[in-house]
């Protein structure tokens, strides 16, 4: 059963992708423009001359073997990487044409527009309701009525409302791993971001939960720009519009997902996607 519906979905996606992101039509807006980005952890050169343009309302996948800098790059996009004290960064990352690496750019402001979903579901040890209301409260929303609305809208947005609507006041730790991850996505939606960063959001989940999150990502891209790290190549192929292949801190190839997976121009990309290393 699951297999059939998955196949159907795949065909559908491919079709819609062909229609949606062809080269014809109006050019898409750029959300993130990374220019000559270099990053070091102490002496370790983790990102080397990254240049990437990431587009609005698309799913951009970042693939590559472990340790190639995927997490580092995505955490640079919301400056979470600066929590590591030894980090040094050079270059520019323009988010909506403003350089986020400029010291005047407040990280709090950036992270309100750019939400993040982590590898391991990380709900707070609070109620489901409080988890979702956390972000809005942080940003000063106090009205119970408004918070109620945000909570419902976010949970619906993350396709988990029906599963939790009768137990909003129960601790989020009572949910299954897959539910927790969708809760974390809902929590992220509650700050009404522009971009959602996801760092291997399904790597800790079972196949069915993974499928649910993937479907969700497909829906979310209508309203958000999504950048997703994955080292599951089938996942990248299934859900993304563009794919960047990272290797040893460099971008080897960045292209439409269809092209990357059907006709890569770099030998290393081909080796990687055909499973010859990684």
């Amino acid at each position: 059963m699951a297999a059939t519906s998955e196949n159907e979905r795949k065909t559908l996606n491919i079709k819609s992708k062909r229609e949606g992101s062809g080269t014809v039509g109006a050019p898409k807006n750029i959300v993130y423009n990374t220019k000559d980005l270099n990053l070091w952890y102490g002496e370790g050169h983790a990102l080397k001359n990254i240049n990437l343009e990431i587009y609005e309302n698309e799913v951009t996948a970042i693939i590559g073997p472990s340790g190639c800098g995927k997490s580092t790059y995505i955490k640079t996009l919301n400056r979470m990487v600066e929590m590591v004290p030894t980090v040094r960064i050079s270059g520019e990352i323009l988010y909506r044409n403003r350089n986020i690496l400029d010291k005047n750019f407040k990280v709090e402001d950036l992270r309100t527009r750019v939400g993040m979903v982590f590898q391991k579901p990380n709900p707070f040890p609070k109620s489901i309701y409080e988890n979702i209301a956390y972000g809005p409260k942080i940003h000063g929303i106090r009205s119970k009525k408004v918070l109620d609305e945000i909570v419902e809208k976010s949970l619906r947005g993350a396709a988990i409302w029906d599963e939790v609507k009768d137990r909003l006041n129960q601790n989020a730790y009572g949910l299954s791993g897959g539910q927790q991850q969708r809760l974390c996505i809902a929590r992220c939606l509650a700050i009404e971001p522009d971009v959602i960063l996801m760092d291997e959001p399904t790597s800790a989940l079972d196949p069915i939960s993974t499928l649910k999150v993937e479907e969700l990502v497909q829906e979310l891209k209508n309203d958000f720009s999504i950048i997703i790290v994955t080292h599951n190549m089938q996942q990248a192929a299934r859900i993304s519009d563009k794919t960047a292949f990272f290797l040893n801190g460099e971008v080897v190839e960045y292209e439409d997902t269809d092209i990357i997976f059907s006709n890569p121009s770099d030998k290393r990309t081909e080796d990687y996607i055909t499973g010859r290393f990684g």
């Binding site: 929590m83 992270r111 993040m116 982590f118 707070f124 972000g135 942080i138 974390c184």
Partner: protein
Amino acid sequence: MKYVDAQQVQKKMASRLLANNVAKGLFLLATLFGLVVLVILIYRVVAQSIGWLDADFLMNKLSTAPERAGIMGAIMGTLWLMLVVAPVTMILGVGTAIYLEEYAKKGKLQSFIQTNISNLAGVPSVVFGILGLTVFVRALDLGSVVLAGGLTMALLVLPVVVVASQEAIRAVPQFLREASYGMGATKWQTIKNVVLPASIPGILTGVILALSRAIGETAPLVVIGIPALLIPLPEGILDRFTILPVQIYYWTIDSALVAEYANLAAATIVVLLIVLFLMNSIAIIIRNKFQKRY
């Protein structure tokens, strides 16, 4: 040929098993030693207190006449002292712990402070008494009142609270902080809404243990000048006071003059032990109940 010769093994077997049993016996003895001493101590104290520890003893004020003397003053003094020590150590101790764990850059200064907090824990309590006498009693001219004693004791137990709070804060998983920062929360919002709620049980445990240390200490308060015979009950933090261990100390010294004072001291020890036992139990219950489930 085989290196492990069955015959040789057989020959050595008996002595090996003997040594095994001897070792076990020695360690058991070491354990029992402490236990036996404790039982004897408690037995003696309890036996001495029988007939003296009753409701009157708890409710009466101090008196030179053994049959009329009670420890209401020392009980009230102990409570008032806790009322000063608890908030002061909470604020200073938790504040220090938050600074060291969440704000301070890991480096020379941070490890210097950290080392000195450990050093502070090793300073003999009488030295804190001298500090309290010089600074609070004399320089600030507070006199030997609850506030002076409480501040002295707060400094004495501060390291306990700092270290316990640091451990509690460090035990809060990094991924919870990341979740909060990731939504645009400031550091303070993250500390207030995520870190502190998750570490409160550990912090409370530390504060209770610190309090139980504070109300069991004698030397610093004797040094800052707690009177041996104080009859009026303290009614505020600016009143003179005494606490249970100090009362025990004076009665024990004076039992050379009045033999019954030894019984009063024993009865007070029983009360103090019960109080400390209860506080430690509460600390353990809190710790176990909230032991983390991440």
